[in-house]
Amino acid sequence: MIKLESKVPSGNISEKWTNHKFNLKLINPANKRKYTIIVVGTGLAGASASATLGELGYNVLTFTFHDSARRAHSIAAQGGINAAKNYQNDGDSVYRLFYDTVKGGDFRAREANVYRLAEVSGNIIDQCVSQGVPFAREYGGLLDNRSFGGAQVSRTFYARGQTGQQLLIGAVASMNRQIDLGTVKLFTRREMLDLVVIDGQAKGIVVRNLVTGEIEKYSAHAVVLATGGYSNVFFLSTNAMNCNTTAIWRSHKRGALFANPCFTQIHPTCLPLHGESQSKLTLMSESLRNDGRVWVSKIKNDMRQPNDIPEEERDYYLERKYPSFGNLSPRDISSRAAKEVCDEGRGVLGGEAVYLDFRDAIKRLGRNVIEERYGNLFEIYETITGDNPYQVPMKIYPAPHYTMGGLWVDYNLMSNLPGLFVLGEANFSDHGANRLGASALMQGLADGYFIIPYTMGDYLASYKPTLVDTSHPEFEKVKNEVQETTKKLLSIKGKRTVDDIHKQLGRIMWDKVGMARNEKGLKEAISQIRNLREEFWTSVNVPGSGDDVNQTLERAGRLIDYLELGELMAIDALNRNESCGGHFREEYQYEDGEAKRDDENYSYVAAWEFKENFNWELHKENLVFEYVKPAVRSYK
């Protein structure tokens, strides 16, 4: 019987983390090198965790499926990273960042975790600057800030439109330093395919060497997963082509609980679809909404070119509906508003896109200022679409971007399986039902730099885990299972390609488990996904062998997990009879179309336990809000 213990320390919220850090057990510096820790993933969370654990003296084994740690998808984050520095003297504070994040997450996050995140946010900036991250600066040489959605203060630090890249270069450089010093050993082109659990504790992983095809076993005293989110379940998302859920999903199937899988974020400012061959959706940074105005025509199926639509016939719907936050309304709200106007037939040329217009900003600030702020984003836009956004408004539409759900973790970021820690987007902890812009980078680095180094020591000191040899029968068993799956995939030789099936899954997910959901659709989705899963196992075609580079095999393996996760997302969405954050159930809305939360019945984390034959058992962690009292989330 699983009992969910959040292990949130007692005391005033502002003292919880401080007290907790003091109460956590320590490992003697000389003994740390006797402990081996596996870190899977080298994005912001994984690279920073590897670096920090290495600095402490642990023996770290780090794994990435990329050819280089520098390629993880954190690199694509454009806009920035939040921190409660209050450098702008505009009333920011740790408490305000905490408040904004809990409210932004529509009261479905754990208060204590969020407070801690806000508390360490300032240290993250300090750390990054000391590593040489070239944040934007003012002429006086001090750091510059910009605003982001869901906040009325300027607390976002940025490095042009490439903040994620610069932070990742910094974190990977810190990890490289540990590789140089010998504490971290990096394994590239290795994809984690399973978790090894012995006597209830995570003891190691099984990976596929993506060059030789060999299935390799690695054991450790603890395993840290920092493998990102699962937006690619939609096939088309802003995630990188290779982002996948395999590491966390297979850990889930080994006993780790999956929390709030239906909480997915649809980002409002992405480029609209161009056609069937499209492989992914491109994000345009939310920072564009600082100066860009979002609008559609007031007339349905308006076929005029945007510059021909006069001012009085334009509907600046975000400014109209949410006057105090306007174009900087949070992501879930902006996305849904875009869907609404497009459903009414008022989208660009009657289709699925809205305008993001810089005409007024260029008039007010001059082209040079706009160019300095967004020049590279405008270039990207023009490269992809062939339109010049200085002259013609951008066309944007929402796209799957981030997943708030993930493996359940306690305050120490440990899952219900002792020894299995989950960091960054892969866990569920800090963003509730909706993540605010520029908070993902903050969470990844908070987890890796400032939380795991403390809580890892406590686990090792209190559980005293042993190192199991990889010749242990359980390692062999897991390895055999992985090999069996590979063999099976290669032997089906059906008629459908992996991408073909994945696209079909994506359509089901987008239509029925996407921006708006209802009971009927979700039930249909569940049965359609089950059928598709069956079809996959009889009709997929994976050419080639398992003994060398086989990218189709890699994708097929990932699709297995999406076909299972997709079902759980629908089940979770069906279970949650309310609308909150990124989860919008059409049955639960106010008359003006705003999301209707049900705090009485659903103020809990839905943590799902995997049972035989694709049954899941629901465990609830009740959420208590002592500081930020739940209220209707209004940005009006």
């Binding site: 003012e138 750091l143 490289n176 390609t497 580079v549």
Partner: protein, 257 residues
Amino acid sequence: METKILKLKLKIWRQKNANSVGSFVDYDVSVSPDASFLEMLDELNNKLESQGLEPVVFESDCREGICGTCGLVINGQPHGPIPRIATCQLHMRNFKDGDTIWIEPFRAKAFPVIKDLMVDRSGFDKILQAGGYISANVGGAQDANMIPIPKDVASEAFDAAACIGCGACVAACKNASAMLFVSAKISHLGLLPQGQPERYRRVDRMIKVMDELGFGSCTNTYACEAECPKGISVKFIARMNRDYIAAKLKSKTLEQV
């Protein structure tokens, strides 16, 4: 919107593995001009897979031009004919109906082919692991605004740090030299005040590893700058030369590596 379809002939380098001999194989494709170059290859691969044939191995990840995973030599140019973009940002509207497109992997002794168009660029990381960092443990950082950095210095450091480590510089250079990459990394850290304590040790160690890996030397043709998707300037190579010469000739305390 025109819905014209481009018919193209592709000549793609196929090579089973690092030890085998490769050759060009012809493929005919039809593709929408709105598709990206890699989506065109996706479609080709989907077709090959549906026929039970092994698809063309090529690497890509973010498809937004920032991760540096993709990199093909298209008609003799790394990342194709359009300047300042990665392969994933190249769109088919830049080609004409009936064009023949030659697609080759990055070629360099230090970038051996793994399969088809996929090469091993791990040399870059070996260079970075030999000093491409600032030694700053977590926990001891002072307040971020304690180190004022002039806007233009931060901006120049960023220009260098914008490098995505794709390897196009090596692929474009007639000598397969890695100096643009290495100089970008060295300059990013060397320009900032935080990077000063390790400035000369860093350049000394990184160059040593770079030389050992079999990259060629720079002969200042600047093909690297012309092909770099991020437009990294060769002025950083000059800067690196200066730092290296200083490290070797000036510094007395530096341990020689």
